[in-house]
Symmetry: C2
Subunit: 141 residues, 2 copies
DNA sequence: GTAATTGCAAATACTTTGCCACGTA
DNA sequence: TACGTGGCAAAGTATTTGCAATTAC
């Protein structure tokens, strides 16, 4: 029985990435946080703060994104957000435009059918989608 | 019979915005382009290029967004995108991760039901959503 | 006349890269 | 040992703001 970390590391190793402390702690941080996080947030997080430079985190995120281990999200803010891609899992998000709180929506995503239609009609390769709901949360309202 | 421009200008006037040449040409540019556009793109567009400063366009976009005349979109790029909000109309987008081409999807959006569920369950106010599909277009593949 | 709007230039924010030192395989 | 990685610092890109001059109403 492999831990989630071991599973991801294994995938990374298979892609030719080296197992460094920075990589390991970055992945752990992403695993422990099911919500999308920014570069700044990650670089200053508990596990990574003293450990490595922000540029290192940046380049790790870049590599992991290229290899499909994580995904880069838009989410409307100036900064980019990153989240671990769990095979078979998909999340949509609910975002408060007041306080910026981001939460994952657990309800089944209603978009897959349309996604298939688009794939067939347009011939786009590697199709995926991003769905976000924006609004004012009860506390901000 | 009002032109689309006149309709939007009327809404702007009602909100207390002044009818300036820059506002008019910005709105015309947005009306003529049904796709989301960036600040840089707008400021250097045919109608606005010689007419006004980029800061002016920036502030116009800001005001129009605050007043709900246009919407600011994420769309995954570093730059923010803006698009005119047509009452009763809603667009989702298909974006090529290769060449960056953005096209509006005409198919009916399958998300409204989920949006209503979220509104009821969470109590979020002013809920709206953004849905984008990403992939590689046939020409880039 | 008065308050909203604008231009210009400077300041931010966040990202991205160069270069050389370092560590993993 | 060799090549992927990392640190530090500088450069790049897009946004955001201050302030005085201008313009719509």
């Amino acid at each position: 029985m492999e831990t989630p970390l071991q599973q991801v590391i294994t995938r990374c190793r298979a892609l030719g990435l080296r197992r460094t402390k920075a990589l390991e702690e970055l992945l752990l941080t992403l695993i422990e946080n099911p919500r999308p996080m920014t570069l700044a947030e990650l670089a200053s997080s508990e596990r990574l703060a003293g450990l490595c430079d922000k540029a290192t985190v940046y380049r790790l995120l870049q590599r992991l994104t290229e290899h499909g281990i994580i995904r880069r999200l838009g989410l409307h803010e100036r900064a980019a957000y990153f989240t671990l891609l769990q095979p078979g899992k998909h999340s949509d998000y609910l975002i408060c435009t007041g306080c910026g709180k981001i939460e994952a929506i657990q309800a089944p995503c209603p978009v897959h059918k349309l996604e298939n239609e688009i794939r067939e009609k347009t011939g786009y390769q590697g199709l995926y989608h991003e769905l976000e709901f924006f609004g004012t949360c009860p506390r901000c309202a």
